[in-house]
């Protein structure tokens, strides 16, 4: 059980907030078309389109979910 919990954390890149709330943003790089639309709508500038992948700055991301909403292929999953 403990091991499964750990794996989940690994997979979703979960972060524990100061509030104790678990949040996460997961970009499926196998699905992503690296168009950068998500970077353009991120209100905090937490995303960056490097060459063919998107990087997330976990400290800046507020898990608002706007990137998830506008992704043309649905490659982003934000869990609140």
């Amino acid at each position: 059980m403990q091991e499964r919990g750990y794996l989940l954390i690994e997979y979703h890149n979960l972060r524990l907030r100061v509030t104790g709330e678990l949040v996460s943003i997961q970009i499926n790089k196998y699905k992503c078309g690296y168009c950068g639309a998500c970077v353009g709508v991120c209100p905090k500038g937490a995303l960056e389109l490097v060459e063919t992948w998107v990087e997330v700055d976990g400290n800046t991301c507020i898990s608002c979910g706007i990137c998830d909403r506008i992704c043309p292929v649905g490659a982003i999953e934000v869990i609140k």
Binding site: C35, A37, G45, T52, I70, P72, G74
Partner: protein
Amino acid sequence: MKDMYDVLVIGAGPAGSIAARTAAEKGLDVLLIEKRQEIGDPVRCAEGVGKEYLKKHVEIDKKWICADVKASYIHAPDGTRIVMAEEISGGEVGYVLERKVFDRTLAEQAAEAGAEVRVKTRATGLIIEDDYVKGARLMHLGKEYDVRAKIVIGADGVESKVGRWAGIDTSLKPIDVETCAQYLIAGANIEQDHCEFYIGNEIAPGGYIWIFPKGAGKANVGIGILGSKTGKFKPRPVDYLNRFMEKKFPDARIVEMVFGGVPVSGSIEKTSTNGLMLIGDAARQSDPITGGGILNAMDAGKLAGEAAYAAISAGDVSFEKLEEIYEKPWRATIGHEIDMSLVVKNCFINLSDENLNSLAHSLKDVKFERMSLLDLLQALFKANKKLLWDLRVLFKDAAKEVVKNKM
């Protein structure tokens, strides 16, 4: 790569390359960087562009033209078709480009004019001193470099960070972005002499589907939908596109996939600051109704290149100076046009399919060869009076056009 230039241009799309070429032609020392290892690739564009305007910036070369289109067909939700021939729709009908070759040609022209071009080189931050942008931190093959410049031009596209680093908020709200997917299809024997557009809330909410011929029977078939009309539990652009493909081209082969986000916000509050100018998609200069951005980007690139020369020659790269020589000129031209388009967009996205159909019926028989804005407004008036009210700001322009024609 040196550590000091007159102008640093970030992003080698049409905006950046034209800016770099213009500044280099004036004799400035220019560095043009592109984060991708290949300029022009991957494509994030439907590749249609108006003919006349394109000729202002570049000599037409067959090697980057895929198709020469003479008309646009617009399909209303109920199937009513409006045909717009070349003479009237002007800017909307034109060439379909091969952006991979086109973008590279423009970057090569910048290089020929004397600009240094660096690919696989990404800006990771700006150098800001005394409230002035004085250069950028660049990364090339994993190594970081500090490059100083008298003026930095941000042409880094929809995913622009340059403006944000300088304190200009360029973030787009979902309603300010069209989220797009496109397939290049082969084996469907597409007619090559016209573009097609499909509108409707079922087919493409807040946007449209396009078919742009790409030469040899191929075509770009794509869709843009408004960011506010899609989401986690709603179909994505790619889902709408697959649905359309199944119905319209079930046997076509998809030989390329393209995704993208197109700014449709209209002009944003600020596109320059001390030592910095933003151009093209980075400055949200694409047209809110068509989503077209190439020509505006090139116009802005030229303005910014000239402004960089004027500002550096005058020894004044302050916001006040750049506002005078870059912001004001682009706002008076491109800015005015995109703000008018924004009015149309805001009206268009709220139309029901019934509205769109009745609009199409009233436009179907209008003789488009002689259509002016006034004729269009008259036709609209017959079709839908509320629509006319929503578009009332356009009257001012129509009135101006009438006055101009009479003089």
